[in-house]
């Protein structure tokens, strides 16, 4: 059955009907073809690209729209908020002036807050994901390829990192960072928070990818083509870059597309818990936190950051799924 000769006529028959102008296709092209056929994947990709565009073009959007996320419109302009600090107009103060309404109490513009909030969340998430992926690749391959004591040692570090109560640690550690690094009569700068958040998220996020790649490398390095390369005297660098890495791109790409939305939610989660960006920086997590306090009187304010976060995370996760399907059509559910 599996011998090529016995099925030759059958192969011929199919190849005639399917590949009339037979073109050689690279795996990348094949993947692209399969991806384009996946409607969910394409829609998700469009949504994700849209979010990235909004993040990049936030200042342009704000300029065209004529508002910024920092002015306290509700407090500066009388008549927008009532005595309790809630928007007077229905639906959280939505009007032609304020498309998504006003923030309760402080009276900032929700639309620009949301648009600039994407920047904060995505910026931190993208940087953290890139660093994490690089770290994961390096550590995973080193552990898998070197084996022995290195593997054992790295394995234990990964175990420790994975089992560490990271959220608790970050909550406890953030104020300490501020008090050590910031002079007592200075304001903690915004970049410091962003950098320390990125470092914290990275420090706990690389281990999953590293463990996955280590396993892959362990099984790959005993395969014939690697053995063959070793026998022909290839340098370790060549083996890693030319023999191993090309076989690892699929899990790396899939993992990092799934890591990114996880980081977006993690960042929002930390802001929700009060250790994210400060009150002056637009942030989805903090909007969400405020919204949960005022939802009884202003449900609209809960919906915008909620739906935005939901749509983004779902779209990115579906995109990750589609990419995996496109790379590896055998795993079809």
């Amino acid at each position: 059955m599996t011998t090529p000769t016995s099925t030759a006529p059958a192969v011929d028959a199919t190849s005639v009907t399917e590949t009339q102008e037979a073109v050689g296709r690279s795996p990348g092209q094949l993947m692209w073809l399969r991806f384009r056929r996946d409607r969910t994947g394409v829609i998700s990709a469009i949504i994700v690209i849209f979010f990235f565009l909004v993040a990049i073009l936030a200042p342009v959007i704000a300029a065209v729209y004529g508002k910024n996320p920092y002015t306290l419109y509700g407090q500066d302009i009388p008549g927008l908020l009532n005595d309790y600090g809630y928007p007077v107009a229905p639906n959280g103060g939505i009007s032609s002036e304020y498309w998504f309404g006003l923030e309760p109490s402080l009276g900032r513009d929700v639309f620009t807050q949301l648009v600039y909030g994407i920047r904060t969340s995505l910026g931190i998430a993208v940087v953290a994901t890139i660093i994490m992926t690089v770290l994961g690749i390096v550590i995973g391959i080193v552990a898998g390829y070197a084996g022995g004591k290195t593997d054992y040692f790295v394995g234990r570090v990964i175990d420790l990192t994975l089992s560490f109560p990271q959220t608790l640690f970050i909550i406890a550690f953030m104020p300490v960072v501020d008090s050590i690094l910031v002079a007592s009569n200075e304001e903690p700068p915004v970049w410091l928070r962003a950098v320390s958040l990125t470092i914290m998220l990275t420090a706990f996020g690389w281990a999953g990818l590293a463990r996955l790649l280590r396993g892959q490398v362990l099984s790959l390095r005993t395969r014939e083509f690697v053995e063959a390369a070793k026998v022909t005297g290839a340098s370790p660098a060549r083996i890693v870059f030319k023999e191993l890495l090309p076989n690892l791109w699929t899990p790396i790409l899939i993992q990092s597309t799934l890591l990114l939305p996880a980081m977006v939610t993690a960042e929002a989660g930390l802001s929700f818990l009060g250790v994210g960006m400060g009150e002056l920086v637009p942030d989805w997590g903090r909007m969400f936190l405020r919204a949960t306090q005022v939802y009884r009187n202003d449900i609209t304010y809960l919906i915008f950051p909620g739906v935005a976060l939901l749509v983004f995370v779902v779209a990115f996760n579906l995109l990750g799924d589609s990419i995996r399907d496109a790379f590896d059509p055998k795993i079809k559910r």
Partner: protein
């Protein structure tokens, strides 16, 4: 359509349904900042609040029983729900308002506050026949005990018990209670002068010529000593039954109730004290037969329970758990709750202190005062129903002879006068000063900080907002060598007189002390000493009010902060519930259970 796609569509559908369902109504009420918003028309309950009137009662006023609230019913069981159990039961260790309130059910003192009508109180004799007789220009105070006042075991309360009560407050284990009387009897560092009665030594300036008479001889004149004796910390402890440290676990009752059971941090059950005679007590009504106190619930849960008002919660109320901001609009807008809510601004003074060691230019301090966004802060805190905007250092609730003044035009321009601030800054020679504003890092304070920063920066003041850890906030700002320019702090009067506020917040400067503006001039100190020792209490109260204004005019050491207003609910079958304007807790004295 595969499963994944279907679920994606389902999500999309759910999201769009959420959007459709999001047609929320607008929030009714007067828009803040509208020209007529001075007297808020937003809430039905925002009738102008009248501060409490406290006067001195006569011997006739000091006779029992207490004036009953309208429609009073005796008997029944009332439930009190709160968050925390009381830290101390030994009167000598009581300073906190909630502990003091519990003390009203169990202990009696020489004097106390009798409710005459809503918002009207008189200082009367509680165990004493009247509110004391001063002589020797206010240096000597004489009290006579009433007939028929007894401990829970039936033993009479004597002048020896009163003397013992004051003497034991010098003992080393008493660390939390008030210290006024002790200092007046001896010296500033009173624990050095006398070590308490347990080793047999007595204080000879407390005299007991007979079982009913007690005479205090102070070193300096104190015209308001009878107010000091009304503090819960000076409630009487029996000489014969004093168990020293162990007394904190359960006092011998002289009040209307005794403790039947107490599960720490969980509950109390109080039943009647058979030896308490209502005819000797002008203060406590003690209408319910049984009190059940429950602890361990947060303000939000308590509010929701009292709003629901179901079953046993109909006879429940809370001493201290005020409606949290997130339920305020709901509670205040509900007409069904109108007769079940109590509203009272806090009796505490709240200030944004300038650090005078760093902000040396008074013009800058005045400019900050003019630019201060009082109205916006009020809105951030929940509007005029959640915070009042006082303009004086002394609180209207706790100052006899209160006189309002408004130096920085806060009544006409509560949103701040940026132009005036700019003008003052120009005169100061530094039109763009930097102010380091330190704040307690809570979610609400983060928002208030945004408001303050926004307003002051409009006037050209650069604000460096410095968040401080909640646990160490007070430690950080009460360091004399701190590196901040402006920070919030509060202080409450111990009795309605400037003498328990001004000499403390402008008193000695020390690490951990209460003088956070570091304003301490010999001239001011001398003036405060003079007023404190004035034997004419009315003249003294007038002088404190005048000094209040003078301090703000001459030194401007602070910005008067917003004053929180507590809204508290009670169950539908609880009658006579009222927030005590001085203690800011619901008074147990008038509570009764409706049939």
């Amino acid at each position: 359509m595969n499963i994944r796609r279907r679920s994606a569509f389902a999500l999309l559908a759910a999201a769009s349904m959420a959007l459709v369902g999001a047609c929320a109504p607008g929030n009714a009420g007067a828009p803040a900042g509208a020209p007529s918003a001075g007297a808020s028309s937003a809430a039905p309950a925002a009738a102008p609040y009248k501060p409490a009137v406290i006067t001195l009662g006569t011997a006739e006023d000091s006779k029992g029983p207490a004036i009953a609230p309208e429609g009073v019913v005796k008997g029944g069981t009332v439930t009190m729900i709160d968050r925390d159990d009381y830290a101390h039961l030994d009167p000598a260790q009581v300073y906190v308002n909630t502990d003091a309130n519990m003390g009203l059910l169990l202990n009696r003192g020489l004097t106390g506050y009798k409710r005459i009508a809503k918002g009207e109180y008189k200082l009367v004799g509680d165990l004493a026949t009247d509110a004391g007789t001063p002589s020797d220009g206010g240096k000597t105070w004489t009290f006579t005990l009433k007939d028929g006042v007894k401990w829970q075991d039936g033993a009479p309360i004597t002048s020896a018990d009163v003397k013992w009560t004051i003497e034991r407050m010098f003992a080393p284990f008493v660390t939390f209670g008030p210290s006024y009387i002790q200092q007046w009897l001896t010296e500033e560092d009173y624990k050095k002068a006398y070590k308490g009665p347990y080793d047999g030594k007595e204080l000879d300036n407390i005299e007991t010529p007979d079982d009913k008479t007690i005479v205090f001889k102070f070193k300096t004149p104190h015209a308001d000593a009878n107010y000091a004796f009304a503090m819960a910390g000076y409630s009487i402890v029996p000489k014969a039954k004093d168990t020293k440290e162990k007394y904190d676990q359960g006092p011998v009752s002289s009040g209307p109730y005794i403790i039947k059971s107490h599960v720490v941090d969980k509950s109390y059950e109080l039943v009647r004290n058979p030896n308490w005679d209502p005819n000797t007590d002008p203060i406590r009504g003690a209408y319910p037969d049984v009190w059940k106190l429950e602890f361990g619930q947060e303000a939000l849960q308590i509010t929701d329970r009292l709003v629901a008002d179901s079953g046993p919660d109909q006879t429940a109320f809370t001493f201290y758990a005020a409606v949290p901001p997130e339920r305020l609009q709901q509670v205040l807008d509900d007409p069904n709750l109108a007769d079940r809510r109590m509203i009272s601004p806090s009796p505490y003074g709240n200030y944004y202190y300038f650090n005078l060691d760093r902000v040396k230019d008074q013009k800058v301090r005045q400019a900050v005062n003019f630019a201060w966004p009082s109205k916006q802060i009020q809105q951030t805190l929940g509007g005029p129903n959640a915070a009042a905007l006082p303009t004086t250092i002394l609180n209207e609730n706790t100052t006899v002879g209160y006189e309002p003044y408004d130096l920085f035009e806060k009544t006409t321009k509560p949103e701040g006068d940026i132009e005036k601030a700019k003008q003052l800054l120009a005169e100061s020679g530094n039109p763009n000063p930097t102010i380091v504003y330190a704040y307690n890092q809570t979610p609400v304070q983060e928002q208030v900080t945004v408001v303050i920063k926004n307003a002051l920066e409009k006037a050209g003041i650069k604000v460096v907002a410095k968040p401080l850890d909640r646990k160490t906030y007070y430690d950080s700002i009460s360091q004399t060598k701190n590196e901040f320019d402006l920070y919030w702090g509060g202080w409450g009067a111990d009795w309605p007189s400037g003498s328990t506020v001004m000499p403390i917040i402008f008193g000695p400067v020390s690490d951990g002390g209460q003088n956070m503006s570091h304003l301490n001039t010999p001239e001011l100190s001398a003036k405060m000493k003079e007023i404190s020792e004035n034997p004419d209490i009315d003249a003294a109260n007038k002088a404190w009010m005048a000094l209040d204004k003078e301090v703000q005019e001459k030194y401007t050491p602070l910005v008067v902060a917003e004053n929180r207003i507590a809204t508290t609910l009670h169950g539908s079958k609880v009658g006579g519930a009222e927030i005590d304007p001085q203690q800011w807790v619901v008074s147990p004295n008038t509570i009764f259970v409706k049939k």
